[in-house]
Amino acid sequence: MNPDRTLEPRGDADERTMLQKRVDRRRALSILIGGMAVGMQAVTACSPLSPVSDEERETRLLAWREYIKGNYRFMSEEERAETIARLERLAKLKRGVDVTIQSTGAQPGVMFGYAFNISKCQGFRNCVQACINENNLDRRAGTQYIRIFEMEDGVVDLDEADATFQHEVPAEGHFYMGTQCFQCADPPCVKVCPVGATWQEPDGITVIDYDWCIGCRYCMAACPYWARRFNWSAPEVPAEELNPNQHYLGNRARKVGVVEKCTFCIHRTRQGRLPACAEACPTGARVFGNLLDPNSEIRWVLANKRVFRLKEELKTEPRFWYFTD
C-alpha cells in the first residue's frame, strides 16, 4: 500500500484554488446579504407587531451563517472553531441538547484497518445496535450502516445471502459476514462526487461534509459495497438517546437530502478508542488497528491468517479484510 497516494488526492492543488475562489465569492455574498438580513431583523425586532424572541433571532442568524459557510476541508482552524461553536449553539437552541463536536485531525503515522472473522461472527447484530446508538442514526427510517449477511456454509455468495434474517442465530449450516464502509484506498465514491463533499483523510477514513453534500447520490451508485445511506427525511433521534460526543466529519446531526456512512467511528478512533461495533461484538470477530504499526493486532491477522477482501477484482483496495480461524 502506498500511503502517499492516499494522503493527497490527484489534482489537489487545482481543486484547492478552484474551491478557494468559490469560497471567497461566498464570503463576499455572506457579508452583503448577511448584513441585510441582520438589518432587517433589527428593524422587525423593534416593531411591536413582530413577536420574535431573542433566541429565535439568534437561531436565524446562526442558521444563516451556517448556510453560507465553506467546505470543511478548506476551512482554517479559526473557521472550523467558529462553525463548531455555531453548531453546538444551534443544537442547544433548537433541541435543548448539549453536544460536543470535535474537529480532531488524523494522527500522524496511522492508517486504520479492519479485519472480520467469518468463523466467529454468529449474527447477533450487537454491532448494529451499538452503531445506531453511537452514530446517532435515524431512528425513524431505521438507518443501519452495518449489514450482516447470512450465507450457507462453503461459499461466499452475496446474491444468495440474506441480510434480513430474524430467527435464532447461529442457524445450522450457515455463516455470517458483516459489511460496512470498507474505507477503500482508492474509493470510487470520492472520484464521482461532483462538489468535493467527500474525501479521504490521511488516516484512510473517507468522510463527508454534510453541509457541502448536494444529495446527488452519485457516490451511492459508485460504491460497489452499498456502504452509503441517504436521508430521505430529516433524521430523528430522541434527545435522551442522542450521543453528545460528536465529530464534524462523523456522527453530528445530519439533515434531509444528504448522504452518510460509516466512518470507523472517527470521533472514537482518532482518540485511540475502538469503533463501537468492535467494542460491542460479543464473539471477538472484529479486529481493528493501525496498519502502519507492525506490532498491531490487525497486522498479526494479516500476516498469520488467510485473508480476503470483498470484490477484490474491482481494485478499490478496501482496508477491510475477512479471515477465518
Binding site: 479485519a115 472473522n117 466467529k120 454468529q122 449474527g123 447477533f124 447484530r125 450487537n126 448494529v128 445496535q129 427510517a141 431505521g142 443501519q144 449489514r147 450482516i148 455468495d157 452475496l158 446474491d159 444468495e160 445471502a161 440474506d162 441480510a163 434480513t164 434474517f165 430474524q166 430467527h167 435464532e168 442465530v169 447461529p170 452499498w226 472514537r268 478512533t269 482518540q271 485511540g272 478508542r273 475502538l274 461484538c281 460479543p282 464473539t283 471477538g284 479486529v287 481493528f288 488497528g289 493501525n290 498491531s296 493486532e297 490487525i298 498479526w300 491477522v301 498469520n304 491468517k305 479471515f323 480461524d325
Partner: protein, 118 residues
Amino acid sequence: MALADERVADAHQNIKPVHPAQTGAVCSTCHAADNVEFLALKSGDRVTLDHAYRLCAQCHFSQAEAWAGGAHGKRLDGWQGRRVVMGCADCHDPHKPALEPRIPFRAPQIERIRGHDQ
C-alpha cells in the same frame, strides 16, 4: 455423568459441566485437588484463576496462539497504547464454553437485499 450426580447441592448449583462431559474431564483435570481457587497445570505448576489462559492453552493451543497475536478474543482499552485483552474465562464459561444461540437485534427495514440489486 458422575460429576453432575455428586455435586454438592448448595455449592455447585450454577455449574453445568458441559465441557467436562464433552472431554471426559473431572474437576481435578483443571482445578488443584486441594483448593479449587487454583488451577493445576500438567507441568505440575499451579496458577491463579486470573491466569486461566495457561491452563486452557494446554489443549486449545491454536486458539491461544491467535489470542496472543490478536485474532482471537477482545481488546478492552482501545486500539492504541497498552494492550489489555479479555482472558479466556471472561467470555467463555469454563464449564460451558460455547455461546448460547439467541434472537439477534432487529433486522434492517428493507426488502430482502441481494448482491446485485442492493
